[in-house]
Symmetry: C2
Subunit: 430 residues, 2 copies
Amino acid sequence: MRIRLYHARILTMEENCPIFRGEVWIQDDHILRVCRYEDTVPMLAEDSWDEEIDCQDNLLMPGFKDAHTHSGMTFLRSLADDMPLQEWLEKQVFPLEAKLTREDIYDLAKLAVLEYLTSGITSIFDMYLDTEATARACMDMGMRCVLVSGLNNFTSSLKQVESDFCRWNQEHSLISYQLGFHAEYTCSKELLSGMAALAERFHAPVYMHLAETAHEVEECRGRYGMTPAAFLDSLGIFAYGGGGYHCVHMTGEDMEIFRRRGLYVITNPASNLKLASGIAPIAEYDRLGIPMAIGTDGPASNNCLDMFREMFLVTALSKLKENDASSMDASKVLRMATVGGAQAMGLTDCDVLAEGKKADLILIDLMQPNMQPLNHIPKNLVYSGSKTNVCMTMVGGKILYRNGIFHVGQEPEEIYRRCQEIVERLTAGA
Amino acid sequence: MRIRLYHARILTMEENCPIFRGEVWIQDDHILRVCRYEDTVPMLAEDSWDEEIDCQDNLLMPGFKDAHTHSGMTFLRSLADDMPLQEWLEKQVFPLEAKLTREDIYDLAKLAVLEYLTSGITSIFDMYLDTEATARACMDMGMRCVLVSGLNNFTSSLKQVESDFCRWNQEHSLISYQLGFHAEYTCSKELLSGMAALAERFHAPVYMHLAETAHEVEECRGRYGMTPAAFLDSLGIFAYGGGGYHCVHMTGEDMEIFRRRGLYVITNPASNLKLASGIAPIAEYDRLGIPMAIGTDGPASNNCLDMFREMFLVTALSKLKENDASSMDASKVLRMATVGGAQAMGLTDCDVLAEGKKADLILIDLMQPNMQPLNHIPKNLVYSGSKTNVCMTMVGGKILYRNGIFHVGQEPEEIYRRCQEIVERLTAGA
């Protein structure tokens, strides 16, 4: 299968590569060639192409990487907002989650995938109760997914994590798996030591919720006399890298651990506002050279799966926190949302548009009022971009979303209907 | 001209009126009737209608009111971001604005109107250098606009404001005019006293930028020994009501002035983040019963004209500021963005969907992944809504935007081209 995307502006996201006009050629799941019009574009006979798409001078760029989410939680969207966090968890999230079946999570994850595609997200770093259901939803729809376990004292086990690690890193080209656990405060020291042993065994990075709330950090200090980052590091969890989701409340020492070990901060600004967790010190991480990526967090705590909203918040909240309107410029944020995400997730072949890389890319409609005038396209994307600008989302060489139409093997209305039925069943008698 | 909108869910935004299923009938520029299906819907012969639109069980609601913007500033979008505020104003905004012609502002305002329509915004409260150009752009496109002068020591005059007030409050049904000036710090005491005299003469409310930055408040204290709100009140500016744009840095005394006089806080959260101004104490205003509305601010300081982004930020930033995830629930925010805006702007016949009200309404597509499941439609709108959900925007009974197509008397591509030319001319040799 060969696709030719021509008459495009191209933002490869390679270092110091400005936007240029040209073509991107796709063969099967990867990029065959990125051609600049100022060079001589080699011609292939017309019948070499299965499909030729005129990009009409719109922007081709790598898809966004949603580096932290819980896709299966779509059932909770707008079901439990405007509540204090503890009440939200205890009265709504936990009792309803306890009733979920694997089949439910499969359907609920599919709803999330539809929304990712509308926002130009081509891969997700997904932590949830049942990795099998999410993996299957992604494979069936053509979505790229990096799974990570939500392991804690009550759910899953080291044995399960080990078996999932081995299985999902070889079963399907769209699916991979990273070691991880829910958070320090939901895992015993023994469980965490076991995770460190797994990291050692596989020479693998480890990911978890980290320093999301001030309360979490205080509690950890009470338990172990250390911050969560320092405590986990002391156990050897970070011996082979990894990263933390959220990282809102980090000390200088924590940051030094991250810097030294090359750990990723995966920030989730909308969720941190909505749950009143705080503002992560992104500019400080940037000054220290800590690598960063962006996640939406799950639909229960955001509630939108929209990388444009997150990108705006990363820079806007940094400007507020630093009291400096020049903090975290658009190009840095765009890098976090694409290359940074790919690196954090271990998707080193999905980071930029270049020969041999996976064909995970999006077409951005520039001929809409929020993108005009074309003063500076990366700034337009970060400060005024919106889902309305995503006119095509391609994952692994397959067009999954184009001009508002999904190509995911199932009608969206059927997915909506099934999710509505799940909600009605879960909340019956509540 | 009669239009029948049937098979709809209807959110009238009247007090304590839940969503119901029914029809909205339009005659010329107003709502003829709102019918509930549980009542007997009276039938009209089919040929009574010029157009019948099947809403397919999607949501009809009042359009959003953008209660503070500067439409003509679209040329500055992404031209001057990521700069400290003072440098931004002095190096970019002022020198380029000085070169603008009336014809430029006309075209640039048209670009903004296109974007408002994509976000379901049916009226704007617009402060800019030249009210004539903005008014003409809105009249030509069919947009509703409340003009307010950007009067200051250097631009416009009390005489001009007086003449505009008389002219624009009678010239065209889509256009009205409110008294106002730029801000305390750009106006002499004499000019402000003259404005108070105009308010007295016309028994009219007055609007201005107010307490946007901590610096502004400090400077005013230095000049007059009072905060801007207290100083303006002491001059009699607020004798007939009005309101302030931004209101980020208000004292208890300022709030008491607002409460006592029924003044509107018009909040602009995205702009306040992007320019590092701060977070307005919205929940405190709400507790005091101060009426509120929401604005996008201009495209140079936001840069997006998107009421969905602003609505999310109003509640999310309040949750952060109050350290309370239950602060400012979605229904309050939705009220600010619709009824509150209409009241703040003096558009008392554009606030809700009811017989005799202006037909300023929008159709929200619920069959998209970000709106599913339909657990709670107002929460869906505020927490996960997006421009992609706006499938129709109607102003004064005319459909100006539908399914991605504009009906504004001009092709959008022509507006884009003209605005790009303006930018190129303004920045030539810069």
